[in-house]
Symmetry: D2
Subunit: 330 residues, 4 copies
């Protein structure tokens, strides 16, 4: 079976997914849609696909699944439309920045029985997958403490910051999902601190650039997240899981792993520059998992509910920073 | 000049300091005191010192300085006595488990003009000293985020736990001091989570064995501490400081750094088994710094005030766990 | 421009190159040839290519270049045929196991002006390329000592051994080429030791499984090669170049870089299992370099002459083992 | 029992051994001899020992053992004198630069039944000891290939070079001994290359500064040694032993193991600056082993014979470079 795809949005992440679809032997990229005709044409031409409008893709008989890479504020609407159109849906995170809007959208997904996967790409990174597998294999016993270090090489443009929903909903949301992925138990409470240390303009936009979060589950397992919008040495993405029998960790990745030594010391190159190079394999694995779940009719993960819970944790972190209290999560 | 020492307490840590004193070319171990005659005799014999009572040491003309290694509940009294006796004092942490008692004791130290050093040994670890030097040299720019991982290989006996003042005052107190040592700015607020994951008996004793703490300074710098009373792989002692220009870290240490590879992978030995082997150099450096400060008449660091502030942070962490609130520190 | 390819040989390495050609946006896989119809059909079908005979490919107007992945004893003949047919030729190493046959073949290449690239894939490994770039950038000053560690995870079947030309012509030949790639000066003399330590059957077949080689250039630069047909921990592929100003090295690679620590120590997974996974990027880069050189009309490297010199070094090593003498190379 | 020592020679290495003796609870430093009275006085005063002449030490009733740290050309004579005087003897390597002189000296040692230990300090490095223990424990199966990288941070003064016996007898001799220590089987043949790459003055003095050596045992086990008189990044001392079941290695050591990351990459400090700091523990362990063997009456290792064999291997390497032949060793 070949899963036939439409890609909505031909921007940076749309290109990543178009390539992943095209390279997958079980999938075919049929159509690309984008409000900018040039972008749509270029991407379609590269992979021998057609340019179509979103409505045309919605109505198409020769398309089984869509990848939603449009701006965040269109995600929930498009999920609803394509749920009703009977397409399988892969949507970049987040579903929406508003919890109530997400809940309403997921109601439609449930009513229509649509297949929805939310783009938490890091779950598909081979190193992080191996960490989770080590836990599943009992290599570290019961999970006790998770540590996630997640720092962007630099802050995005202020315009992006303003529309982003803030650091917790835009950036930490990936770490909230990763913490859930690793803890194996739902988070019960959240404490967060946040500050502006990198760029005062970020503060003027009402956001933070440096944050620390503690998550705790009902049984007392704890996760710590350290975030910064600055890392001079590249895209810093580390996880460590401490358990009753041992600890498992995934270190940072770099494109080239040579080392040069001289009188100044031993130097290895900086890390990957950002997510496009760091998570190349993760993006391909993610789409492959989506395709495989469609083909086999197996449950899709991460689901819309996973997207919702991560957003709720982000909201709890925002509230914790504001109130100075540990915030309970249902 | 030779600084002449009396060591009070011939237990495990007393032995460490007796050796450090004896090996130091600028010091001489004159006397050892211990309620257990056998312990005092053995230690005195090993280094050619005399056995004396605490009162005799207090009154001795041939002793310039004492190292207090007696049980915690005697520290404050002994500091006061030896302050009045005009001796320089090195006291193992903590001065006392009660902030008011510490304050009263430090009043006596101030009145008498006594020299008092508190035993935060980790400040003298060569690796951690190099981290701090890198910060001082501007290698990472302004400090933004500190991460401290501190896990004991195993929990102490329940009897010890009961007298310890709890995990924050007994174990995390070292990390509070290390955070202050690295942040370069006083902590303004504390959020803490804690749980019993290692041993239910610890919970029954009213304590925790797994804790996560966020510290924040007035300007928004943040420190994260992760503590556990369990680490199957050895004594886990890591620090990382993230700044505006880069990051500096000190990794774990092991006695022997070989690697064996076979079909199971590449394996390096576990870490040092505990503080006695991990901080050997730190203990020697610490006593050397104490002796040097006495000889040169320079200020002593870490001081009694450093001990007090670390205890206040511990109290704040206890309160944060209890109330679920971020606790301000003056 | 699109370079149109025929792939000769649909075995293991033929598949690697067919994928590399198909994935390259500047190339098109037109035809596949293999004596085994099933193999040819399967590979052609996978990439939408045709099955043709070698003669058909030779005569085809719609094919610009061929990739020779047939058995070694056919390489020289095929290079000559396709040189005369005016095709660009990528040939897996070696051109032939006999130096005179190689020289005769390269004469034909020269007469016909054919473009010939020899498949020393390791030159295109990103890590090794970065080592060479570091040298070219003057990061380590003048090259003095090269160390190459190259160990296969296990010995090939005895039948393969018997046809292989022996360890120096089959396995070390890659290391001879890598040494030349890094030394920046031709090798003037060779000393080699070799023994049978892994499998007596290899000795009975007249070959060795464990070898050590020293190469020296006219100016005294030295390269050391350590080879074994056994490495329980995976495919061991390391290089180090020591120069007047420093040293640069490329460490081993593994598929997944996690670490698990417990009472047994800190363990990372074994290395890649063999060249197919270790050199995935190298194979793709190699074909891309071939295509680029065809398109731009730039010189091709590694050339037939590079293949010849590596074989001469292998012959010198064989002679050194046999005679117990340092063997000069012209 | 306390072993009473005289130290002959109060130079750099004499100081190292005087400290090791003084710190050892089972030994006592009784006397120091040196042709330079100031040097002898200073060292004696530091450890509360007497200054005596060599003859006085030879005749002394209160001295059980001597440590010979005088110039190389006095070693053999002193060993003979103190053998006859009935003292246990620790002698810095080499016994002599001439094989026949060494043999004559060892004859005297044998006749007199003297205890003689030769100072191959690296055997007592804790990391290298752990490598050997891993082999002894069967962790890597049968030893097959040993790789030793040994580079000095810089060349010694030309005057030293001239009296040194050449790189193989002065520097590589340690690596010959280490190879024997790890191979577990005597070396049967040697091939060596050597050149002048670091400093032409070294060549003018008739010596080399860069050398590569292959050693092979009767059963075909091989050891490779890479030497240079230059290493800009510190004192480079690595060993790796490859066996039938796995590989064990000991990496380089540094005084402080921090890492700083920024836009230039991840940098760890250079290595130890030279043997005095790199092998601190080894020197202490070495003297402790000597004392222990005296006390227990157990065989002493490394013995005079070990010193002799290492020198024979050095001579073989010299001959191999000169003749271009693999040189057999009895």
């Amino acid at each position: 079976m070949t899963v036939r795809f439409g890609v909505l949005g031909a921007g940076r992440i749309g290109k990543v997914h178009a390539r992943a679809v095209s390279s997958n032997p079980d999938a075919k990229l049929v159509a690309v849609a984008d409000a900018f005709a040039d972008a749509a044409n270029a991407l379609a031409a590269q992979y021998g696909a057609e340019v179509r409008s979103i409505s045309q893709i919605e109505a198409a008989d020769d398309i089984d699944a869509v990848v939603i890479c449009t701006p965040t504020d269109t995600h929930a609407d498009l999920i609803e439309r394509f749920s009703r159109a009977g397409k399988a849906i892969f949507c970049e995170k987040p579903v929406d920045l508003d919890v109530e809007r997400v809940e309403a959208c997921l109601d439609v997904v449930e009513e229509t029985g649509a297949k929805l996967m939310v783009g938490f790409n890091r779950r598909f990174d081979p190193h992080f997958m191996a960490v989770r597998q080590a836990i599943a294999d009992g290599r570290i016993g019961d999970v006790e403490m998770v540590t996630i270090t997640s720092r962007d090489p630099g802050a995005p443009p202020i315009d992006y910051i303003k529309r982003s929903g803030g650091i917790f909903r835009d950036m930490t949301i990936h770490d909230f999902d990763m913490a859930r992925f690793l803890l194996g138990e739902e988070v019960a409470s959240v404490s967060a601190h946040a500050a502006v240390l990198v760029d005062p303009e970020i503060g003027e936009a009402g956001d933070y650039d440096s944050a620390s979060v503690i998550l705790e589950t009902a049984s007392g397992k704890q996760a710590i997240i350290s975030n910064s919008r600055r890392a001079t040495y590249g895209y810093d993405q580390r996880i460590e899981v401490h358990g009753s029998k041992g600890v498992v960790s995934a270190e940072n990745q770099r494109a080239v792993s040579i080392e040069i030594a001289n009188g100044d010391g031993y130097t290895r190159p900086p890390l990957h520059d950002f997510f496009m190079t760091r998570y190349t394999e993760a993006y391909a694995n993610e789409i492959a998992a989506f395709i495989s779940a469609i083909e086999k009719g197996t449950p899709i993960s991460p689901s819309g509910a996973d997207g919702l819970v991560a957003l709720q944790l982000a909201d709890a972190a925002v509230e914790s920073v504001r109130t100075g209290k540990r915030v309970s999560v249902d």
